[in-house]
Amino acid sequence: MDTTRSATTVNGKPGILLVEDNPADVRLTVEALRDANAHSRMDIVRDGVEAMAFIRGVGKYAGSPRPDVILLDLNLPRKDGRAVLREMKADPDLRCIPVVVLTSSEADEDVCAAYQLCANCYISKPVKLEKFLIVIQSIEHFWLHVAKLPQGGGRA
């Protein structure tokens, strides 16, 4: 464990990691946050492998700050969201980072599986734009401004 990695805030702003392979959705999410004038950074990775590297701060992401909250799509190339979730929650160092599963599926089994893997919550992307924007903003607002997150990245 790299103990030198500081707490999340860089430039005083909390960081969101968006794990999403669909550029359209990425753009939408970015737009949503911009609309809300959110005081937060967002980092983007395209698949599960990148996601783990970023979270761990290894490889090309060495030195990158730990995210405060992770928005995780389930269907990802290479390593899919479920695997990322499983890996994160199995790692005592990483399991305290809140993970919001953000996916288009409404299927019960997906919901169940996500919670079984200890996802912090499950959001299904609304079709309507308005709703989508509200959801994204709510997530950002709730997780970064309402909920208390562990200091020091939650390291024991």
Binding site: N22, A24, E31, S104, S105, A107, V127, K128, L129, E130
Partner: protein, 791 residues
Amino acid sequence: MVAGPVKAIGRGVSHVKGRLAGLRIRLIALVLLALGPALLLNVYTYLEQRRLALREVEANVRRLARFAAASEQQIIQSGHQLLVTLSRLPEVRNAAAHADAHAHAHACKSLFRDLLDHQEARGYANIGLIRADGQVLASAIDLPQAPGARNLGDRGYFRKALESGEFAVGEYQVGRITGKPSLNLAYPVLDDAKEVVSVVFLAINLEWVGRLAAEVDLPPGSTVLVLDRHGVILAGQPAGEGYVGRSAADTVFGKVVVERKPEGTIAGPGLDGVESLFGFRVLGGEPGAGGSGGVYVLVGLPRSAVTAAANRMLSRNLLALALIALLAVAAAWKGGEWFIFRHVRAMVAAARRLAGGDLKARTGVGHTNTELGELAAAFDDMAGALQMDEAEQRQLEHVLRESEARFRSVFQLSSAAILLADDRGRVISCNEASEALFRYGPGELDGLPLTEIMPQRYRDAHQAALQRIASGEPPRLINSAASLELHGLKRGGVEFPMRLSLGSWHSDGRRFYSGIVLDSTDVKRAEEQLRTVNATLERRVIRRTADAERRARELERSNGELEQFAYVASHDLQEPLRMVASYVQLLERRYKDKLDADAGEFIGYAVEGAQRMQGLINDLLAYSRVGSRGKAVSAVDLEAVLSSTLSNLTVAIDEAGARVTHDPLPTVPGDAVQLGQLLQNLIGNAIKFRGERPPLVHVAAERKGDEWVCSVRDNGIGIDPEYAGRIFLIFQRLHARSAYPGSGIGLAVCKKIMERHGGRIWVESVSGEGATFFFTLPAAQVAPAEGDEAD
């Protein structure tokens, strides 16, 4: 001819003999025995009485004797006095002093004579005077002619008085002068010179003895005797009888004289022969003193008088005792009869009757708490028990006979061959069917060893088994539910397949076997055929099963593929949809100012299209899952499903102001989730397709045969019967989407759910007056599953 009576007599005698030893006699003997002590007591008392009486008599006679002696002493005393007086008389003095005695002697004699006459009563026999030389000077009684009588010089009393000069008492002797027994007293006469010149004597006769008897008032039959020391009777009372002077030395009195006891008693026959008790006492001073002793007075009382009273009493008592004994015997006789023999006879009679076969015989004696009563009770109980036993026995016999008859009928008429064998393996009984089966004639199987009807190869094992069981090993194949498949051997050597059921029982310590043989030749043949047919069928079945399995697997596979396809499809289809919708909307937002109203409308349609597409995809997914994702059938409580459905529909119900009612709903076998979906669709529809009035929905269930017919009735817009079938098809809608939303898949899902549950669904409706959707569910009993499988 004679024999008869003789025999009868003999019988009678032995009868009597028997009776003598009988109870009655013994009882009477006991009673008499009881009286024994009384008798003994009487005898003892009598003896005691007699003894006492005798003692009294003894005392009496002694007293009398003493009295006699005392009387004698008195007489002697008075005699003494007289003699003293006489000795002083001048006549007397003179008579001796002068030689001229005659005149004086005469005077004396007269004097003496006078005195004597007056003294008669006193019992003086003689008064006289004797000169010192012994010559009798004077005597009141005339001297007898015998010369010896004139001189009494040798007399003891004379000599004593002469020599002692004092009063002397002589012996009892027969006086020479008087000739009677008397006692002489003498007193010396002194002259002036105080010399004894003569002796005056007094002869006392023994008549005082007789007087004594009268004075003392002796009882009749008493005797008084005076004996001298030689045993000669000097005097006696009763007088007469002529025994005076006789010697009694050889009688019992002689003993007295000889023994010389001063006083005592002696018993013996009196002179008159009567047994008497004599008391005796010596008279006249001490015996041996001067020789005048040894004279005894005896007073005798007849024994009979003595014992008379005692004897009387005894006889009285004995009489009374005899009377009592008689009464006792009579009482015993009667009492025995009443209390004992009567009952005994009754019991004997009852016993005889019982022995003779009359089991109803009873003693008739009361069952009191006495010995006989108890005996009678015991007897009656025994008789009762015997009677019951006999009745029981008869019943048992009856049952036994019936059982035997039943057995016989089964045994003989059975078409199965039944054989009974003993422990040595020999047939003891068999029925006709077995004879026919084994081809033996009637009775030819009896006694045959079982080995005769079994093939050679079984015989050793059979014998060994018999041995084992005989030596105590418990049999294994006997009485087991299964029968043995063996072969039997008919006469002539023909083997045939058979089934054997073995049984065994014990009787009188011996073991018996029973076997039921069924000829299974036909059965075997049929079995063979069956096997062939079965084999063929099996092969076919296997082939078909393999086919079916293959098909089922393919089906499963295709189902799985389908499901996966549906899942993936819905996912992958959702995303582009979203993209289309989202970006179109984004466009609208970003470039709102630059767009006109038309553009807005166009965008609206585009977005709407995308949304509908999403709805359709979800519905299709749900539809596809009805068949494939169902849970296992379990008992579903429709009421519970309804209430959870209603809570799901709360918003819709409230918005519509709807009221949902229901009848009691049953528990049916099914899939709870899917049935929930069904109800939700139907009730949702009922609320959605409402008219002007607030919707009223009623859910009901009615049992018809072995299924439940449930219904959801509403008061909405109703359905045109023409379309009643079409509405269950997928995506069929009857109204504009703008009027009533929905994809048109709800009822199709309901139908699929019903098909899965083995039920039907249909609708009855009149346009404008609401609709009632009916669906059936089986009413089969399903036990609630122990735990539903996890989905």
